[in-house]
Point group: C2
Chain length 354, copies 2
Amino acid sequence: MNKNDLSPASFIGVEGNGIISFGSGQPDLPPPDQVYKMLPHYRDFKYGLIQGMQSLRKALAEQYPDSGSEDFVVTNGASEALDLSLRVIAAMENGKSNKVLLAEPYYYSYPHLIRFSGLEPVYLKTSQGRIDLDDFRRKVNDCKAIIINSPSNPTGRVESIGTLKEIEKISSEHGVFVISDEVYKELIYVRENYLLSGPHVVTINSFSKTYAMCGFRVGYLWSLDADFVQRVIAIKTHASMNTNILGQEMALEATRVPRQFIADQLKIWESRRDLLFQGLQSLDLDIWKPEGAFYVLPKIDNPLDFVWNMYSQHQVITYLGDWFGAPGRVRFSYALDVEKIEEGLARIKKYLSR
Amino acid sequence: MNKNDLSPASFIGVEGNGIISFGSGQPDLPPPDQVYKMLPHYRDFKYGLIQGMQSLRKALAEQYPDSGSEDFVVTNGASEALDLSLRVIAAMENGKSNKVLLAEPYYYSYPHLIRFSGLEPVYLKTSQGRIDLDDFRRKVNDCKAIIINSPSNPTGRVESIGTLKEIEKISSEHGVFVISDEVYKELIYVRENYLLSGPHVVTINSFSKTYAMCGFRVGYLWSLDADFVQRVIAIKTHASMNTNILGQEMALEATRVPRQFIADQLKIWESRRDLLFQGLQSLDLDIWKPEGAFYVLPKIDNPLDFVWNMYSQHQVITYLGDWFGAPGRVRFSYALDVEKIEEGLARIKKYLSR
């Protein structure tokens, strides 16, 4: 680790030694016990269907309106679902430029994945962490696709239903693909999730955040455009084949876990959100109230010094906003227990008031 | 299934009902018991290192000369290792065209993966299923990379050590990347494997064929070019993150299985090879003797009718050679037990002598 490379990926696996991590974008509490229950007697070993296990896709179809198992592709996490979707869009012709619109701040993988597929990121203004609809209207018609991420990593903000409906409608009118990354859809504190839909929408989700299954890498995409689904499968057939069969069995078990698990988790997340938000607010930081996911993105003076010094001198991990298109800000995850949040806040307070 | 789409992927999961499958490119016998042994008490769930579990990479480094754990990236099967390598090569500048050379017949994913990454496949002549070195010398200098697959899927042929050394040397002189897909390196009947190496070589391997772990999708690449490895990780960080943590634990167990397992498997493969090869030869088919892997690729008159009729009327699955750049031929896998091979041969004999 050095001050010139404080990328989120470089912090993976850094722990212990009194380190308090506000870095990691993954739940700290374990998955429901049930997801492990088939492991002791598991003996399968052969290739699975490239599209994903039929039983898992059937279970997913019950969670999405007007859907069948054929509308899903199970992937190596939401990451692969995003990558495959962008590769498919890059190869399709819809009479548009090669630009993909995304709100800034953004999840840090988006611009990379867009460029890997030969497309070009174009940034959408936000106000208080939410999409500026006027800017969207100005830019959308020139774009091939738009990525929506509500609730947002790294802002923790949730777009209004009015905004989402407007994006859904205008994108459809202009023939622009919408990639809706809804991996935090079960972690919203302010309302129910609004599911963007239509044949121009590809919805991305995963078992990572809702069921704390990050390491198992099981995600999926949902699309009502049968041709789009076939194009995704055509790439996955060669680029990775089926998603790990055991991960898919565990994900199937997760779909059978009572909804009460999610409700209980949400209460935990909300109380941590309150603690961290109020703690940072009391330090007089410019900050948006998180409405979903488990991040908060305050303004911090000299953020590079802050992130580096907090890590190297005070054993507190935070992520530099620059990685998320948010210079001048620092991302804090609250995926850690209350005692650690309190201890971390104390160290930050001491540092900022030095 | 219909006569217009007899792709290998379309046959995945087709079984039962008296079907004899010479199709599937995966072992039918299970992995060593040991790979399942950690499952009952497994409770991890967090992200792993994107490059792969340190302990697994360390175990791999012991199998490769002059290597450390930093020279490996663990991937979602050999497929992802190939895809990532090609994406990296496509983005690198070595003063060459965008062409990738590959022997024809080829593993059917190669041309697709080459095109997905924006590169262009160029085909290398073979004679009796082995690379024509004169054709290689004519074409290599204009290419950015070459893919070598010895033992070969679908031919079952093994290149001579002389050929491999010549390719290694000339590619190096011309600054051409070599992607050496050695997933069948432990399944050679005629000699030890020859490991292509040098800083311009990326070696691809997996646990799928050697340990019958296809469904778990654990592969890896090995490269002594540190910059190349970092470029692979830079893509994987966004495109899929870590490989399934449980699959990696199982792969680590596989590295600890006594070599006798591999020797015993090889004996089984060899006796099946003899049975199928001699059986097809006795039908007077034009055929190359398989020296590795578990495929044989005879000439068959009207191959499309053969594949379709054998499947739809006689419940025997085979793969059309066209998918592998081998028109006029049909691929038979011998990943099935002796009784089934005999029954399948009987049905084929009956069909061909009708």
